[in-house]
Symmetry: C2
């Protein structure tokens, strides 16, 4: 008699596919699962692409990650979510998340660049119909924006859940792409009198602005002061 | 005899089309030309969508604006740029630029949102073959990232120009979408003990990191100290 099988650990990398191997700068591509998760978890706004009447559409939207699944939500009336709901076999989508880390100013116009980290996910998006999965997805979306916030808000009602469409996209065909480091000028340009280097970009939070109708005694929660 | 006709000023708004009028939250859509230009000019990284083998692809890339034309550049080997070069009738693309301005924390999970400003451009992208237009486009791209920088760098050589593909996209079918302001909680939720409000996001520049091989005496230029 055997005991329970140990749960299989996912491979450390996503297997590259024809469309996740770039034709240019393949050295900038990465498939490491932890790196992909870290890039995804640092953001909360993605750009979701789908095809409508043969033409591409790219919309910014919020997302959340639960393990190897990304969730995107929207109104049940929005076009991509309606399309996913109709598509029994899933809606082909491409979901991209990008962080820009620095401006790379080379001596030559040609070698100007930016340092960035991006993740591109290809796959089929499916409408989430199970209420429990939908609720967990919405919690993940809220916690993606501000960790700890989902537990400190009124959960969605049945009516609100019904008005919200959620689609799921498996992390399966995935790649990261990165540019890091300094300028790559041509050797013969090094003596030119143009300043060259990297301007790092910073992101932050300004002082939270409380709603004027806060219930008396409501304090700024710790997860916001910690931001 | 008539003198020269006065140059026609563009209309103050982009005419809405079926695909630039959202099915949801139409009150957030705007077509004002100056607003669209301002949102485009504040950024330099867009998400460019195109269709490949029937599936959407969304890639982050740099862009520049010259009047009513957007330029996107890349290697002549990259997929969308090669596809645009082959497409006599233009490559259908969707180019989206998004700025996230604040996190909107409502008392209810359902009403969480973000404040943002985005522009979505639909159209056909064409390969730029005229060397002079290509050069101007590259200057616009560099100046979009750091205004004033194009004039303070070595211009692209003929060989570099030949290795760079540039596509042009007319600002024709364009819309902006915005969410501003505070939380929109349900009246019956106002007394709940959850903090609610907006957390403004800030973006900035950290101290520039000079390339170690700068020519002696090269100072940080004024357009960088002014950032």
């Amino acid at each position: 008699m055997q005991g329970p099988q140990p749960r299989q650990r996912p491979a450390a990398t996503y297997p590259p596919t024809e469309r996740t191997v770039p034709t240019r700068s393949p050295d900038r591509a990465a498939y490491d699962r932890e790196l992909v998760h870290a890039i995804l978890d640092e953001g909360y706004v993605c750009h979701l692409g789908f095809v409508r009447d043969g033409a591409p559409v790219v919309l910014p939207t919020l997302y959340g990650r639960v393990g190897e699944v990304l969730y995107v939500h929207g109104s049940t009336g929005s076009r991509p979510l309606r399309a996913a709901g109709r598509a029994d076999q899933g809606l082909p989508v491409c979901l991209t998340v990008t962080h820009v880390d620095g401006l790379v100013l080379a001596r030559s116009a040609f070698h100007h660049s930016v340092n960035y980290r991006s993740v591109v996910v290809h796959g089929l998006a499916y409408d989430v119909t199970d209420p429990e999965e939908k609720r967990q997805a919405l919690d993940a979306l809220v916690d993606h924006v501000v960790p700890g916030r989902a537990a400190d808000s009124r959960p969605a009602s049945k009516k609100e859940l019904a008005a919200t469409a959620v689609i799921r996209l498996e992390l399966d065909e995935v790649s990261a792409k990165l540019r890091t480091g300094g300028v790559n000028d041509e050797p013969e340009d090094l003596a030119l009198p143009h300043w060259a280097g990297v301007v790092p970009l910073s992101k932050g939070y300004d002082t939270p602005l409380a709603d004027p109708d806060l219930a008396p005694g409501t304090e700024l929660p710790g997860y916001l002061t910690a931001l």
